[in-house]
């Protein structure tokens, strides 16, 4: 297992180097350049040259990348052009908010999806199963911004139950203190991920229920409850655990659209802004963070897989 972990971490480093190089190159291919974006369209060539020189943008690309990596190894993600703060401090401020938003949606969607998926599997092809299937397909096929707008229209504009905009506080404390405003963004994300989780849960449970050992458990005289929750669920959750691990990068990416719709001051929202203002250091920082989360999520998925399934032992 330890040898496996060492190997995987080694692979992860290679992946991250690749991600940073590609992101670095793509970023510099963007037309215009950051100087114009920051200084405005009427900036003189002299001002632009001075900006580029100050930020090291006049050096060859490979040197810029080398400097960036050198700083990165020291835990320094650089300084945002636009916000006049270090990228580290921007992320430290935004990330907890995104984790709160997406994380609570993730937990909530699992809490709903697992029991419903199991129930659908047990009573498959019944009325409830068909109804739940229809609902999840409906949600599945809906883009999250569209779902968000519909929810705003229904609950905020027409019913006035919840505010249309997410809490605007800068600190995480101020966001927690306004749970009503958190409701619509969390529900939007919950419904979107519920749709896929419940489909996986249903098919995984159906597969597990068809196994011979379920019949063995019944032949022992166990009750339906014990069969479902002791025998079936543990087996059926294995693919779900993998799925959750793989969805770790969605802590940022899921927020990109939804945070914009609700004007939520999280990492996803920041990412969009950074892209439109060509704030290179901030953009790169977030991309690398997404890369790290993807790699860590994959690793976690593999580890939970081995923990849940005794047949899997990594060499």
């Amino acid at each position: 297992m330890i040898a496996f972990l060492v190997k995987r971490v080694g692979q992860s480093v290679v992946v991250l180097i690749g991600v940073s190089i590609i992101a670095f190159i793509l970023e510099h291919l963007l037309p215009g350049g950051p100087a114009k974006a920051i200084l405005g369209g009427r900036a003189s060539p002299f001002q632009i040259a001075a900006f580029n020189h100050a930020n090291g943008l006049d050096k060859p690309l490979w040197q810029q990348y080398g400097i960036y990596v050198w700083h990165l190894l020291h835990g320094n993600l650089g300084r945002s052009y636009k916000l006049n703060q270090t990228v580290n401090s921007v992320l430290a401020n935004d990330l907890p908010k995104s984790i709160l938003l997406v994380g609570s949606a993730l937990v909530l969607s699992l809490l709903i999806a697992i029991p419903i998926g199991v129930f659908q599997a047990v009573r498959r092809n019944g009325i409830f199963d068909y109804a739940a299937t229809s609902v999840s397909f409906l949600l599945y096929s809906m883009p999250s911004f569209w779902l968000g707008i519909i929810l705003i229209l229904a609950f905020a504009v027409n019913l006035h139950l919840f505010p249309a905009e997410a809490p605007q506080g800068q600190s995480i404390g101020s966001i927690i203190s306004d749970p009503r405003a958190m409701f619509l963004p969390v529900i939007t994300l919950t419904l979107v991920s519920y749709a896929s989780f419940t489909r996986y849960m249903r098919s995984s449970a159906i597969e597990a229920l068809a196994q011979d050992w379920i019949r063995t458990a019944k032949a022992k005289g166990l009750s339906q409850r014990v069969i479902l929750f002791k025998h079936m669920l543990r087996n059926a959750l294995i693919p779900i655990a993998t799925l959750v691990g793989l969805s770790l990068p969605s802590l940022i990416t899921a927020g990109i659209v939804t945070e914009s719709v609700f004007n939520f001051p999280g990492t996803g929202f920041r990412f969009i802004n950074a892209a439109s203002t060509e704030d290179y250091p901030l953009l790169l920082g977030i991309i690398i963070l997404i890369g790290v989360l993807t790699v860590v999520g994959n690793l976690l998925a593999d580890i939970t897989y081995a923990v849940l399934d005794p047949r899997v032992r990594y060499r």
Partner: protein, 681 residues
């Protein structure tokens, strides 16, 4: 009063349209301490009967009418909760496949303890103690250490012991064993059957043994119930049902099994397939396939009647004693002829000290060599043109690997294979393709070996297309003629594999193998996925085709009776080594190697007299690992005759007759001087 009394049971399974009448009025009784064998082919309702007793029918299944009395209590009327107290407590059940019947995520200890804790109302620690106790009872080595193992850490035989331990943990009055040994190797099967027998004695329980294998029934059951198409057709004490069969179906079933003594040259095969039970025929359900059927059979249904008190059958035209058991002793003579003819035959394929090793690697970054799995070691064998060689052995003995090397799918890691005098692997890739068309494979699983999205015509034509043989019109013609040769109509060309039954699909596979006019066909377990009556059709067909096409067969099987029926010479493999080879007579009647003898005694035969008196030399233990095979003779760890010599020195192949050779230091028969003039390998 019998312990279990099934009274006129009807069980149906709902379909989208209509219902399958899986069990149609079955009455069976089982007395305390008695073993009743329930036999029949797949789809005859034997498993559904067992599941109806436990009320564990599939979601769409239900008991339409009838009673299931256990100690006088009607199980059909019990509430689900009351029924749960019966399952696992009063009735234990063992299923066919030990590989899939245990929960992979729970330890074996907790799976056994679970039912003890539930039914005996004891705490977890007590239940665990009981689990260790029953594991000891079923012969699990070192049960205390094994208790925390997961199922995947155990071999098939040990898993089945766990299943038995689980079923017996609460000392049930009745044990339902549904094909308990079908998925196991013969030597392990013998161990498990022996165990079930002794446990039954020890615990004084009754057993309902559900199986398709007449051999298993013959040796173990007190009474036999034969089912066909959802109905009981005959029931009698075991000796009577074999000695004085009354129902034509029972007779046909017995006649379609190849005999181990090689006394049958051609198998009886029941024409047609069982009826569709969603719309069962009026009258006798066997009438369509029965050689004695009259108009009466098709219009009215025969009831179970008895000619003496304990033998009953449902037939208007029972077969007499004299009509049954017409044994033909041609096979033994034919073997004698083969022995003489052998000198004239020329070798088609020579395996010259062939070995196949698979490397096992270990380590994360550096793939260090951790060992080699020695699948086949130093195997020499000459296959003569036109003969049938059988290769038998337990799973993991290397017989399938040997077959793959013969058709050039696997490259040997040592030694040479000569085909028509040329090195099979000395060819350039392009030449190898044309050589390959002479070497064809017939597969085990007729469901997995045909592409479900290809029409039958394209499946059979594909080898011709690949080798660019003939014009498209000629290819079409060839396909039609191949189909008619294997007994299928030309209409099959347009249809897909799923429209055919297992036996028909195996015929399609055979037609595909024949398309290129091969010299050699390697048949790897050709009939093991088929039912007895269908099996005999395919076996007869294989024999016919051999004659008409001048084929050479290599038949690989774990089923010794199938090999005996088809093969002229038989090789026995153990853990990658060929331990004995000879004619069917040599191997079955006069074995030299102790392993051959033990393997033969482990095979249950459909002859109750022989089975009950048979002195069983059940091989103990399991197959050793092929990664570190025992030194010297590989069988020595399980052999009674083994001495220090066997560990130190590998026994060489020595002759025991013209075609008979074995590798053993202490053979069961004395070796003879080879008669002068006779050819050997």
């Amino acid at each position: 009063m019998p312990l279990l009394e099934i009274d006129d049971l009807y069980t149906n399974i709902r379909l989208k349209k209509g219902e399958v009448k899986a069990v149609g009025g079955v009455s069976i009784s089982v007395n305390a301490g008695e073993t009743v064998g329930l036999v029949g082919e797949s789809g005859c309702g034997k498993t559904m009967t067992g599941m109806s007793i436990m009320r564990l029918l599939p979601a769409a299944g239900y008991i339409a009418s009838g009673r299931v009395l256990l100690d006088g209590r009607d199980l059909v009327k019990l509430s689900e909760e009351e029924m749960r107290a019966v399952r696992g407590n009063d009735i234990g059940m063992i299923f066919q496949d030990p590989m899939t019947s245990l929960n992979p995520c729970l330890t074996i200890g907790s799976q056994i303890a679970e039912s003890v804790a539930l039914h005996k109302k004891v705490n977890k620690a007590k239940a665990m103690e009981r689990a260790i106790e029953v594991l000891e009872l079923v012969g699990m080595p070192k049960p205390k250490e094994r208790i925390n193992d997961y199922p995947h850490q155990l071999s098939g035989g040990l898993r089945q012991r766990v299943m038995i331990a689980m079923a017996l943990s609460c000392e049930p009055k009745l044990l339902i064993a549904d094909e308990p040994t079908t998925a196991l190797d013969v030597t392990i099967q013998a161990q498990i059957l022996e165990l079930l027998d002794s446990l039954k004695e020890k615990l004084g329980m009754a057993m309902l043994l559900i199986t398709h294998d007449m051999g298993v029934i013959a040796g173990r059951a007190d009474r036999v119930v034969v089912m066909y198409a959802g109905k009981v057709v005959e029931q009698a004490p075991t000796e009577k049902i074999f000695a004085s069969t009354n129902h034509p179906y029972t007779e046909a079933l017995l006649a379609s099994i190849p005999k181990m003594d090689g006394s049958v040259a051609r198998l009886y095969s029941i024409p047609g397939i069982p009826p569709d039970l969603s719309n069962p025929p009026t009258g006798c359900r066997f009438a369509e396939r029965c050689r004695l059927a009259s108009d009466q059979c098709r219009t009215s249904e025969p009831q179970l009647t008895s000619n003496d008190q304990d033998h009953s059958f449902a037939c208007f035209h029972p077969v007499g004693i004299e009509a049954n058991h017409v044994k033909v002793a041609i096979k033994v003579e034919a073997e004698e002829i083969a022995r003489i003819e052998h000198a004239d035959r020329k070798p088609l394929m020579v395996l010259d000290h062939v070995s196949k090793e698979f490397e096992i690697t270990k380590g994360a970054i550096l793939q260090r060599k951790a060992g080699t799995l020695k699948a086949v070691t130093d195997l020499s064998l000459t296959i003569y043109d036109g003969e049938t060689i059988g290769i038998v052995g337990e799973s993991g003995c290397g017989k399938s690997t040997t077959g793959s090397m013969m058709v050039a799918l696997e490259r040997p890691t040592g030694g040479k294979i000569l085909f028509n005098g040329e090195d099979l692997f000395g060819h350039k890739p392009k030449e190898l393709r044309s050589v390959r068309s002479n070497l064809q494979l017939m597969f085990q699983d007729p469901y997995a070996s045909l592409d479900p999205r290809m029409r039958v015509g394209s499946i059979i034509r594909e080898p011709l297309d690949i080798n660019k043989i003939g014009t498209p019109q000629e290819r079409e013609k060839k396909v039609i003629s191949l189909l008619s040769e294997v007994g299928l109509s030309a209409k099959a060309v347009e249809r897909y594999p799923h429209e055919f039954s297992g036996g028909q699909r195996q015929r399609i596979g055979l037609a595909r193998a024949l398309a290129l006019n091969p010299k050699l066909i390697v048949a790897d377990e050709p009939v093991s996925a088929l039912d007895v009556s269908i099996r005999s059709q395919v076996l007869n067909l294989m024999k016919d085709l051999q004659r008409t096409h001048g084929l050479t067969y290599v038949v690989i099987s774990h089923d010794l009776s199938v090999v005996r029926f088809l093969a002229d010479r038989i090789g026995v493999m153990y853990l990658g080594k060929l331990v004995e080879i000879g004619t069917g007579y040599d191997i079955y009647e006069n074995p030299a190697h102790p392993y051959t003898a033990a393997l033969l005694s482990a095979v249950p035969e459909p002859e109750p007299e022989r089975e009950k008196t048979k002195i069983r030399k059940v091989i103990q233990g399991e197959l050793p690992s092929a990664i570190n095979p025992p030194s010297g003779c590989r069988f020595r760890t399980r052999c009674e005759r083994a001495t220090d010599l066997c560990a130190q020195q590998e026994p060489p192949m020595t002759s025991f007759g013209v075609l008979h050779q074995a590798a053993c230091h202490f053979p069961l028969i004395s070796n003879v001087e080879i008669r002068s003039g006779a050819a050997t390998n």
